[in-house]
């Protein structure tokens, strides 16, 4: 049976992917959850979800033999949260070498208990909740106003760089809220949990 034209959500034991599937369902998208290499390669779009730990996620991708597959993709790819972090150069989370699509490194937010600036800014870890995004630069943000709020849940953040297409700030740290390199997109926030704004961003991705 041909799956041509479908959106592939990469299935690699990445934690809770229900919310991504539910969001696509709400948008009426035709998708499949799959770890099958040919199915991923032939998909019209690919979503790489991820919840939890970047080191664990890399391990699972390696174990599933998906790293080269991901590198080879030429259709639009969207990494969400840890799914975006594994597309960066590296993560400070257990000093993990990542796939290296985005020219950004993933660092840990300083714990407020150990950092005077973080205490002063009340910058708690995890960075959890709604925060605004700025410097929006891609078709992914078509129709999204500067300063719109989206939902974040993370303790590690991607640094700013030439691939940055949206920024956000937690305490005194400004980081990449979204990244883009060629056909690869990534959001540190969860569009699937970001209300109407998130829904619009997902729609924009599906329309690429």
């Amino acid at each position: 049976m041909s799956r041509q034209g479908k959106i592939a959500i990469i299935d690699y034991n990445a934690g809770n992917i229900n919310s991504v599937m539910n969001a696509l369902e709400r948008l009426g998208a035709d998708f499949v959850l799959t770890g099958d290499i040919s199915e991923i390669k032939s998909a019209s779009k690919v979503i790489l979800p991820g919840v939890g730990n970047a080191s664990f996620a890399m391990e699972e991708l390696r174990r599933s033999g998906l790293i080269d597959t991901i590198r080879s993709l030429r259709q639009p790819v969207l990494g969400i949260c840890v799914g975006m972090q594994v597309l960066c150069n590296s993560s400070q989370e257990e000093n993990t070498k990542c796939i290296g699509i985005f020219d950004s490194n993933v660092l840990q937010f300083p714990m407020p208990s150990e950092n005077a600036d973080a205490i002063a800014a009340e910058a708690k870890v995890p960075h959890m909740g709604w925060n605004s995004i700025q410097n929006l630069e891609s078709k992914l943000f078509k129709g999204i106003e500067e300063g719109s709020d989206v939902y974040f849940v993370h303790s590690f953040y991607p640094t700013l760089g030439t691939d940055t297409i949206a920024t956000s700030r937690h305490g005194n740290i400004m980081f990449s809220a979204a990244l883009k390199y060629e056909n690869f997109y990534g959001t540190q926030f969860h569009p699937e949990k970001s209300g109407d704004t998130g829904e619009r961003i997902l729609k924009n991705f599906l329309a690429l």
């Binding site: 229900n18 539910n22 939890g52 959890m128 709604w130 605004s132 209300g195």
Partner: protein, 252 residues
């Protein structure tokens, strides 16, 4: 900066939303999925659903409800009530819950926090603490305030953080249902001693109460039930009022 969050809490029994006053005198107020969708479109930042069914059948109904909520709602939601094992947590996650809230079971077996956080991440685990002040000490209670334990609020909150809780949801049993304001001093203390977000619950009666706990009380989020369920404070009005007071909230 991360916004201060407003979280309506829906107590669910056999698939319907109820709200008890001081955990007594339960009265049905509405359909759980529809109420959640309404709060979401009104600008609620998250939702909490607590299962207060005591029966097996009630638990099954709740799991099915969680699945329906996840399909319908595009903001994060937490579920709690009667979660006592890693299997319970897995079942709720598989049905689409973004976070779970542990209460009595974490007191009985603090290691439960660790095992769930290790498997699904800290962000998935809220440690809910119900406490009341007795002879000057904030004593932790379980089973909806019925059982008094030997644990003390602040040391237990600290331990919960160390064991892997991603947030603390403290309900003051002395304030809950009174509508006389939150236990602001206690939230401010929790917020300064812990590095994870603090959710305030119990005592909301007015916009000023909520504003106070988010400023003086240093809480990251304010949870309330009856003021929302009975339409006393509509969420858009609350958000606008908080913004006018200079509190950083998401306003849509």
């Amino acid at each position: 900066m991360v916004k201060k969050r407003i979280i309506p809490c829906l107590d669910v029994k056999d698939g319907h939303v109820v709200k008890g006053i001081n955990f007594e005198g339960i009265k049905e107020v509405g359909d759980a999925v529809e109420m959640g969708a309404k709060y979401s479109s009104d600008g609620a930042d998250e939702l909490v659903y607590l299962d207060i069914s005591a029966s097996q059948q009630g638990r099954k109904t709740f799991t099915e409800l969680v699945r329906q909520i996840a399909q319908r709602i595009n903001i994060p939601f937490t579920v709690g009530g009667g979660i006592s094992s890693l299997d319970d947590a897995s079942r709720l996650l598989d049905n689409g819950a973004d976070k779970i809230s542990l209460n009595s079971a974490a007191v009985a077996d603090p290691n439960l926090i660790t095992s769930i956080a290790n498997k699904y991440g800290k962000q998935f685990v809220i440690c809910a603490i119900d406490a009341k002040k007795i002879d000057g000490v904030w004593r932790v209670t379980t089973h909806g305030g019925k059982n008094l334990t030997e644990k003390e609020l602040f040391s237990w909150a600290k331990e919960a953080q160390e064991r892997g809780a991603g947030e603390i949801l403290f309900t003051s049993m002395d304030h809950d249902g009174t509508k006389n304001g939150y236990a602001c001093n206690e939230y401010a203390h929790l917020s300064s001693m812990l590095s994870i977000p603090i959710i305030a619950s119990g005592g909301a009666g007015s916009v000023d109460d909520i504003a106070q706990v988010l400023t003086e009380g240093k809480a990251d989020a304010a949870l309330a039930a009856s003021i929302f369920h009975y339409g006393e404070i509509p969420i858009p009005e609350l958000k606008r009022a908080l913004m006018e007071k200079g509190i950083d909230v998401r306003y849509k």
